[in-house]
Symmetry: C2
Subunit: 269 residues, 2 copies
Amino acid sequence: MADVPEGKRITGRTKIFFLLADPVGHVVGTAVLNAHFERAGIDFAASPVHVRPDDLATVLAAARVTRNLAGLGITIPHKIAILPLLDEVTDRGRRVGAVNFVRRDPDGRLVGDNVDGIGFATGLARHGVEVAGRRVVQAGAGGVGRAIAFALAEAGAASLGIANRDAAKAAALAAAVRAAFPGCDARPAAATARGADVAVNCTSLGMRDGDALPLDLDGIRPGAAVAEVVMTPATTPLLAEADRRGCRTVPGRVMLDEQMALVQAFLGL
Amino acid sequence: MADVPEGKRITGRTKIFFLLADPVGHVVGTAVLNAHFERAGIDFAASPVHVRPDDLATVLAAARVTRNLAGLGITIPHKIAILPLLDEVTDRGRRVGAVNFVRRDPDGRLVGDNVDGIGFATGLARHGVEVAGRRVVQAGAGGVGRAIAFALAEAGAASLGIANRDAAKAAALAAAVRAAFPGCDARPAAATARGADVAVNCTSLGMRDGDALPLDLDGIRPGAAVAEVVMTPATTPLLAEADRRGCRTVPGRVMLDEQMALVQAFLGL
């Protein structure tokens, strides 16, 4: 059609992608994915799909028979519930116990993965932050925290201190990380970066005015790295404090940018 | 996200829409719909969904539980097969025996309609072509021809001659139109516009070089109207010939433009 601008066209040649969420109103991941693929020159369109937990299997059945579907993005509250409904889950996804991307193979098989952690670890490497052999401390043992803990251990962290308000959750995650990666001395820990080479915030602290710092930076050595998962604001109080102390800082946005490239590869696009 | 241009954003607030087709590669209707809704300032994104006939019920089950889905567009080969799978079909859709748009109501009910005919008839009216009380002849008794025949009768055509290569199909359509609209003298007819006030091409003749004219325009009176469903080329040989004879002409694109507004109203957007 002559009056449809080329750049905005979604046609029968476009690879489609659904981001499953409930609720859906706050979702912006579709826009981020679409911007990435547009920059990459790939004809792709991600749409949000609002699906309730009880209806997840029904939507996955349709995904299997939707032949131009590249895959699915999975977000709250489906990341854990989706595991038994998939045809295959990568080792990475099974270790984390949560899936955030699903590929649709040409035969309709749905393969789940979790690229939160590898996105984060790849972002650190790209910013010159070495993890192999280093002492790492992280705050948070929730969904993203689990993904990042396994990825840091897989990247060769010598030790990993996990600080979490619910200490039992930190201990359980530490034990799971040690079991998967015996070379990494993962332990529950206090919320301090003292003596760490790399300190990571995997909580949502820093998003809201007046939030406490997720990690106490007293005693962190200048030259250590401090990294965030919080994306808004770009400079969290933790990063500002790290900067004052002469640490290197890695903003939360880095994880998302790296994930886009990883998702593109995972989907085979 | 600051780096996603506003105009191209598909987010959790976007109303989504799927156009079901098999094959899917040639589909441009999604781009036409998206351009229409963008002009109308409505946050909407249509994606093509490639679904095989055997999988149609599976995809409709997911459509019922996709809570941000405005509706579905239905194209080849699903327009007829979908009828028994829907929760409701408008009188118009049932008369035509084919559905091209489906609305998803908030409770998940799927309601089918067919706006091919009403789009065409509305386009004629907007171009000042009166149908009520007039003698109309149309070529074609296929899917689009059926939709247009009922719409012309509903618009008050005094008579409707239906020319079709398969004469039995023309006779069956004429009988169905008379049964639904007894005030319209619908009959199978020869492929000539002689004596007609309005002549309509509902076949694909005119799309390819060397196609025969769908209707013989000998004896059509100057001032009569000749209308097309063929959109490419914009000026078909039939319209060029009609213009030479001093007839008013209505290009095929008009039907599509009118349908966009009708679809928007039908979907409640």
